[in-house]
């Protein structure tokens, strides 16, 4: 897992958006969100010490 990866992709999306490359920015943004969700599952599935 490369923790900097979503930031690099987010930066890429921001640069695409700034230069008006709408489709590329949306794709890069969507991939960033997918990685964000994937790594959230990785970091958030161990047991909590609370009753839910």
């Amino acid at each position: 897992m490369v923790m900097a990866l979503p930031f690099l992709l987010g930066l890429l999306a921001a640069v695409f958006a700034y230069f008006g490359r709408r489709r590329s920015a949306l794709v890069a943004g969507a991939i960033t969100v997918a990685i964000q969700a994937w790594w959230l599952v990785y970091h958030a599935t161990d047991k909590l010490s609370i009753g839910l």
């Binding site: 897992m1 490369v2 923790m3 900097a4 979503p6 930031f7 690099l8 987010g10 930066l11 999306a13 921001a14 640069v15 958006a17 700034y18 230069f19 008006g20 709408r22 920015a25 949306l26 890069a28 943004g29 969507a30 960033t32 969100v33 964000q36 969700a37 790594w39 959230l40 970091h43 958030a44 909590l48 010490s49 609370i50």
Partner: protein
């Protein structure tokens, strides 16, 4: 009106990330993996608002804000749950009585409300309608977000290198002398 609000929201997102940077570099509080996922959400939301400003309004852009708000809001809720039991401690400093993960959860809730309101009041663009040229403040907001996104990418490369961040980071992997 929509462009004015998107510009203000874009400044707000950059301000949140700059405050986090202040705590990271001025006060030496290194972000944890869950903190990182919360920060990414602000960057992606900013990208979507920038798309509204640069390429014209589209519900797809606000859709991206909603998706990242759910993911990053989930990360902040998880971090709140980790520390909700009395005596389980906390991570980082508090700001105005709340820790940053609590503020992040409130901010993502506010983003969802903002998107809902903007989808209600914004007129759908006509076919072939082009986005107006960026004004000074809108351009400044876009440049600021790109700079903050680049700074975050560099900071996380310094902190974690090309691997995962530790749960409780205490030093920068690629620059141990930096605190």
């Amino acid at each position: 009106m929509q462009r004015t609000f998107d510009t203000l929201a874009l400044f707000g997102l950059s301000a949140v990330l700059l405050v986090a940077f202040y705590y990271q570099f001025a006060l030496g509080e290194l972000p944890c993996p869950l903190c990182a996922l919360q920060r990414v959400g602000f960057i992606v939301a900013g990208v979507a608002l920038m798309l509204n400003l640069r390429s014209g309004y589209s519900p797809a852009h606000y859709g991206l804000v909603l998706l990242t708000s759910v993911a990053a809001g989930g990360a902040s809720l998880r971090q709140i749950a980790l520390h909700v039991v009395p005596g389980s401690g906390s991570y980082g400093s508090a700001l105005l009585g709340w820790h940053f993960y609590t503020w992040a959860f409130v901010a993502y809730g506010a983003l969802v409300v903002y998107v809902g309101a903007m989808l209600l009041v914004t007129r759908a663009p006509q076919a072939g309608e082009r986005a107006p040229r960026l004004g000074f403040f809108a351009k400044l907001a876009c440049v600021l977000l790109v700079v903050v996104a680049a700074a975050n990418a560099a900071a996380f490369l310094l902190e974690c290198g090309l691997g995962p961040c530790p749960d409780n980071p205490v030093r920068y992997l690629w620059w141990p002398a930096l605190r």
